[in-house]
């Protein structure tokens, strides 16, 4: 009787669960290799490698086990892609949190804190529950930075290959790169498209690392050594934003801050665009790309507003004002989350600008989170056309981006995504506010909004106690759980998660 029911359920299920589990297991098994790096760091600094070895072993064992129970189901399709992506981004943070729990680090000894920190790292958010960062073991700190870099690789694959093929939020047609053949085997196409962008990612990482190390060696920045350079590069290229000092990157030399700002900006460019430019040895694709032009324009506008505000309000002056304006604009836009100064203390207008920039965000096809410039461009054009068609009802007006006609379904996807994004953000803000009131936290409306925006947008710092020099530690466990969910949903661009909660997804 029970087996008959089970069989009937299985037959009605439209998703190949075994296949999905198999792929998750396999990826988890590969992820265990990531633990080799902190083991090396630990040995180098004479710290214990045991937490990483154990975590790696668990990761490999769980992965291998999942693979084993679902053997023979290696081929999965688009539908399973949603499930794999969503579950993977829950499971990988779980195993990544293990070293935090296993090491005798008091600040991360509670599971929710460890999971928050791991989720924040892997979604390249950069919000931290640490209060005394400088007191943490070097190997553990480097692991925390490294989760951002690894998470960035995952995001590259996710943004460029997976979400595009899953047609999330109109992405498939917004990409400058024409999508390949329809997915018969998701894994194969993902592998092909991802490979070259990961190479670019590694090249960018080496470039920034080289420059920062050089700054240290030549005395441009006294505080910069190899450890610092690597730790910050690991948080810049994936637009992560974990700092390893209480005051983010404030104490570094201006030259270092400019370099970090530059690489944040570069990391926010569409990787496909960069790849094409490098491949063809010409800068022309940049000039012709609408998203890139608007990305630059938004960055310039944000910087200008902040610069004027800083100067007129006597917060900073001259090149320092310019540096803070540009650095923090780029940091917020690219959803990195470093701070060159405590912008928590700036004026309300400046704070509002920074939160607004979290929603602008950078290019599709980069590691940035949030809505992305190209969706803003598309929505702007949809609205403009709507007005035009109100006056001219018979007008036939296909919408173009980069001179290519955009499919109406993709546009609907874009609009739907933006609405879902803003809706989820609003729900998150309300939930945080209610929870804040319940536990009597020091959380105003603006702080709640900023916290919701910063986590769903995978940015990092908020305002109030969770500001760039502060910590998310004071939030209650429930609030942390809400923000973990927001980081997770935001990173996956909402739709893959929401889809899992629809009945039609599971139905055959």
């Amino acid at each position: 009787m029970t087996t008959a029911v089970a069989r009937a359920t299985r037959r009605r299920l439209g998703v190949d669960l075994a296949g999905s589990i198999n792929l998750i297991g396999s990826l988890l098994k590969y992820f265990s290799l990531a633990f080799v790096f902190p083991v090396v760091v630990a040995l180098w600094y004479g710290e214990t490698p045991v937490p990483f070895l154990v975590a790696g072993a668990i990761s490999a064992a769980v992965g291998g086990g999942l693979e084993l129970v679902s053997r023979g189901k290696e081929r999965i399709g688009a539908r399973e892609g949603y499930l794999v992506v969503a579950l993977l981004w829950l499971l990988v943070p779980a195993v990544s949190a293990l070293p935090y729990l296993l090491a005798s680090e008091a600040q991360l000894s509670r599971p929710i804190d460890a999971y928050f920190e791991a989720m924040s790292g892997l979604t390249t958010t950069g919000s931290s529950v640490l209060t005394d960062i400088e007191g943490v073991d070097r190997s553990l700190i480097m692991w925390r930075q490294f989760t951002q870099w690894v998470g960035g690789v995952g995001v590259i694959v996710l943004a460029i290959a997976v979400l595009q093929r899953l047609r999330v939020g109109g992405r498939h047609l917004l990409q400058t790169e024409a999508p390949g053949p329809e997915f018969d085997s998701l894994a194969e196409t993902v592998r092909d498209t991802s490979k070259r962008f990961v190479v670019l990612y590694i090249v960018l990482t080496l470039a920034q690392l080289g420059i920062l190390v050089l700054f240290g060696l030549t005395g441009v920045d006294e505080r910069m050594d190899f450890f610092e350079a690597l730790a910050h590069t690991f948080a810049t290229i994936p637009t992560g934003g974990f700092g390893i000092h209480a005051r983010s990157v404030e104490e570094f030399a201006p030259a270092t801050q400019w370099v970090i700002a530059l690489f944040m900006f570069v990391a926010g460019i569409n990787f496909a665009l960069m790849y094409r430019s490098v491949f063809r040895r010409t800068l022309r694709p940049f000039g012709r790309d609408e998203e890139f032009r608007f990305y630059c324009a938004f960055a310039a506008l944000g910087s200008l507003i902040l610069f004027l505000e800083l100067v007129t309000e006597d917060i900073a002056s001259g090149t320092a004002a310019l540096r803070h304006a540009v650095f923090n604009t780029v940091s917020m836009m690219t959803t990195t989350g470093f701070a060159s100064t405590d912008f928590n203390l700036w004026t309300p207008l400046a704070a509002l600008t920074l939160v607004a920039l979290m929603f602008v965000s950078a290019s599709a096809g980069s590691t940035a989170g949030s809505i992305k410039v190209i969706r803003h461009v598309a929505i702007f054009k949809v609205l403009r056309r709507e007005l035009d068609q109100t006056l001219h009802p018979e007008l036939v007006s296909p919408l173009r981006i980069n001179r290519r006609v955009i499919d109406e379904r993709a546009l609907r996807g874009v609009v739907a995504f933006a609405l879902l994004y803003v809706g989820t953000f609003a729900l998150g803000s309300i939930a945080l506010l209610i929870e804040g009131a319940r536990v009597d936290a020091e959380l105003g409306v603006f702080e709640a909004i900023a916290a919701s925006a910063t986590t769903i947008g995978n940015v990092g710092p908020g305002f109030g106690f969770a500001g760039p020099m502060g910590s998310f530690e004071p939030f209650s466990d429930v609030a942390k759980a809400i923000m973990v969910a927001l980081m997770w949903i935001g990173r996956l661009e909402i739709i893959p998660v929401v889809v899992l909660f629809t009945r039609s997804y599971w139905r055959n």
């Binding site: 001219h392 018979e394 007008l395 036939v396 007006s397 296909p398 173009r400 006609v405």
Partner: protein, 437 residues
Amino acid sequence: MLGAGQVGTTIVEALHDEHDLTVIDTHAERLSALAHRFDVRVVEGNGTSRRVLQEAGVGLADLLIACTSRDEANIVAALFAKKIAPDTRTILRTTDVEYLEIWRERQLDVDFIVSSELEAAHAVSQVIGVPAARQTDVFANGQVQIVEFDVAEKADPEVVGPLLREARVPVDSKVAGIIRGGEMRLPRGGERILPGDRVIVIGSPRAAREWSEVMAGRIERVRDVAIFGAGRIGTAVARVLLEEDLAVRMIEADKERALLVAEALPRARVFNATGIDPEFLDRERIGAAKAAVFAMRDDAKNYYAATLAKLHGVELTIAIVHDTVSMEVFERAGVDIAINPRALTAEEIVRFAHDPRTQQVAMLEGDRFEILDITVRESSELVNRPFRDLPMTGSLIGAIVRDGTALFPRGDDVLLAGDRAILFAESSRVPEVERAL
């Protein structure tokens, strides 16, 4: 020749005197009608069949003209002909601009290709450039323009009325012919242009515009054009006009077609509407367009829409005509210009089929007059003689192109060997003129 339809018939009409023609068509009636009128050999059969082509004697022909209305048939026949007789030159008529592009990339093995759509589009663009003109044609990379005007009552009295030798004719232009009451008159100094005449002018593009003002008073340049019907011709017209930086609005009744064209032509504003809805015309202020082109499939519909557009205030209406008979109806009924793509195609093909020295030919008044572009032989008796001494036997040299530059000769200029003479002649005199030069 393949095809005895409208285009084929027009070509036969122009070429039958000079050439031995064999016409292939699947319709027996068409062929017999043609054989009655002209001295041509006819073969009934499918031109895409190699056997039929061989029977018709393609192997011995100098030239194959494939001018049916079916692109594929034309291409197949032309390719077969090339295989059967590699020395045979081939001319292809196509309705698809894409084949023209392929030919220009040398991917299609034919010698010459003519697209009705493009011919029509260029004709429209020339008319819009010189608004008062009935018909215009350009030569020598646009340096020389040939324009046909109807002389209106309000025309400039300094040009219309006085003796030609005293009239203030725009610089760099020549009156090539005056047609009064269906009769052609040679524009000697003692002749005059009168209202109601039709005149043919050869001159520089600037002179052509000046003539346009002479004939119709000062006219604003057209900047905004409405095109009704986004079919192949309408789209080709839009493409050409957009290239000239005109604002183009297109009106297409078929929703899918409208979307397709809107996607293909980013700079055109495309409306999904019938052109005969007065409310739509009002709302979109179609009347504000200086010119409107009617390129819908049905002549009668074009006629109706053109009349309606006139009522809404469109100044210049240009209709694309599919049936030769409609041509007269349109002109009588007050549509400003009627353009027949098939006639233009025939013209273009005839240009190529003519004497190789003769580069381009335009036909005026149906096919009664031709404009020729002839390179003057060294052995010509007319070489080195001043223009005033040249005989005027039903023809007139309007311009010469010397070393790539257009000149508009005066009486004491001298004709040189190697000059390209652009001249106006009665069709019946063309062979005579060709021999003389």
